[in-house]
Amino acid sequence: MRVDLQEVAFAYGRQEALAAVSLALTDGGITVVVGPSGSGKSTLVALVAGLLAPAAGRIVFAGRDMAAVPPEKRDVGVVFQSYALFPHLSVEDNVAFGLTTGRRRLPRRDLAPRVRELAALLGLTPLLARRPGELSGGERQRVALARALAPRPALLLLDEPLSALDASLRRQLRTEIAALLRRLGTTVLYVTHDQEEAMMLADHLVILQGGRVVQAGPPLELYRRPANAFVAGFLGEANLLPLAPSPAESGQLPLPGPGGSALPPADAEAAAAAAGGWLLIRPEDVVADERGAPAAVLEARCLGAFDRVVLRLAGGREIHAHLPAGTGPPPGATLRIAARRSHVIAAAARPRAITPLSDFSELTSDA
């Protein structure tokens, strides 16, 4: 089911939560909305589910305005952050709940097979008789997903479904959920603050910041060509090198391209136009190159998959590089480096309340 949000706004009292958010969920696609806490993600889910009413704007399901349609008639399934499992009901009755009430009620003889089918799909068969209180976090998460999917909703909403789990379980479930959602082909709106989760699941990625859509598009596009420094820093580790404020100087990029070549001309041109903006170079795009710019190695750590190297360019700017494992030179050495790929972010693209550059190292270092 295609879902359109048109200029949707919402405020809690005087506290603005969402401002003129427009986005389209493609039929059968997985749209992931990612943003830091307080960016309005959960509000967005509640609005689409009908649990909150927008202050302005329209929410349209398959061409039909949902303004007057209450949640119980919207044909959505919701996985809540807290799971919100019914504590007085068994897993079986939790999963069956949506099939025993309202428009999606099933005849009694079809009920048990459908519940068994979902239990098998999510590995809940041995747990059907238990109460939610007797389940682990991961099991509860699966029950919540099974319960939401049971009535075959046209739209599945997931509000930070993995945030309550520990890191290893989160990684495991992330993979399982990604596979399951792709197989089911349901239209999905998935909300998270975890950029890795977002990149992994999304067909279409939406970055939300301070109640506004900062950028939307395919994940790789957003990763490589972020609209502003916030998106660049939010989606993975980013070297953001400030460009000179005057157009003439800003054309002189801090790093050459591979083999001593200039960076793509488009970038140089864009850089000139973007005087005072940023040059984004992802750490994995920094490569050792004999004809590159000399840089002093400050720190080198092997993380197994790659070497994480901190370098200082002649101008004094620090740059992070991910070099092939075992190739990072020792601290104190000099390495010539080039940028395999870069992207220019115009100064005008700075959002109103941007995180200062100095904070990005913290933001990205644990990514």
Binding site: A46, A49, G50, E72, K73, V78, G102, R103, P151
Partner: protein, 270 residues
């Protein structure tokens, strides 16, 4: 957690001794009353002829004959007050906790405040405002003022322990207003509702202050009637009457303890 006693064994013995002493102090009057009711000594009733009556059975028969209709009156009051208190208090508690509005916190505090109002004040206020109302209704109203706050508190605290998103989840699963109340809210609150009902019973059954002031010779609850005749009866009669009065409370208190001692403690705090 435990205080750092040098000898844990001695500490435990001291603890047992102390609690036994406290329990004994609390239970002694009741024990003496019970013993009094079954004492075989000769006693005299109110009868003008002053003829002695002998035997426990005769004693209880006499007590029931004298106060039976007041006992029935108390039961009638409880039968009216308990369901009404739940019907008034539980939805109010739900509204206060789940559908807060500006000022709802103050309103909730106001709803619980009557617990702290002396019964005599309340009784006078009720007579002032609705003195012409049937006395039974006035009595029930007086009991409601003291019991509704208990329901509001107990049910409100129970609500606090449940995720407010449960109702949202039920809605997105297709349940309407009635379905959510029937399949979610009532089952989740069932323990709190039962504890509330038992609390209401215990309070209404034993309520004296308001009942005494509102009592008329024809409409009297048992505690008021008991008081009015206490002074003119012999000890065994008073003891037997007290025992008859106490009997229904014992299973209720036991049930409250078994079902929700904690809920009771939190709920009973005004």
């Amino acid at each position: 957690m435990s205080l750092p006693f040098r000898s844990p064994r001695l500490a435990r013995r001291l603890g047992i001794a102390w609690t036994a002493l406290v329990a004994a102090m609390l239970a002694a009057p009741i024990a003496i009353t019970v013993a009094g009711a079954f004492s075989r000594s000769e006693w005299y009733g109110l009868r003008s002829e002053g003829a002695p009556v002998q035997g426990t059975a005769a004693l209880f028969a006499y007590v029931l004959g004298l106060w039976g209709h007041h006992l029935l009156r108390s039961a009638q009051i409880v039968a009216v007050v308990a369901p009404l208190a739940l019907l008034l208090g539980a939805p109010a508690a739900y509204a206060f906790r789940r559908l807060p509005f500006p000022g709802s916190r103050w309103l909730e505090a106001a709803a619980v405040a009557p617990l702290a109002i002396p019964g005599i004040v309340l009784a006078v206020a009720l007579i002032e405002t609705a003195g012409g109302a049937p006395r039974f209704a006035l009595l029930a109203a007086g009991h409601l003022v003291y019991t509704v706050p208990l329901v509001v508190r107990t049910v409100g605290n129970a609500l606090e322990s449940h995720d407010p998103r449960l109702e949202d989840a039920a809605r997105t699963l297709g349940a309407g207003w009635f379905g959510i109340v029937r399949r979610l809210v009532v089952p989740l609150l069932a323990p709190a509702l039962v504890v509330s009902a038992l609390l209401v019973f215990a309070v209404s059954w034993g309520e004296f202050n308001v009942s005494f002031l509102l009592a008329t010779p024809r409409v009297q609850t048992f505690p008021a009637a008991l008081y009015l005749t206490y002074t003119t009866n012999s000890f065994p009669v008073a003891a037997a009457a007290t025992l008859v009065f106490l009997l229904p409370v014992i299973p209720v208190v036991a049930a409250i303890q078994a079902l929700g001692g904690e809920e009771l403690q939190r709920g009973a705090q005004p």
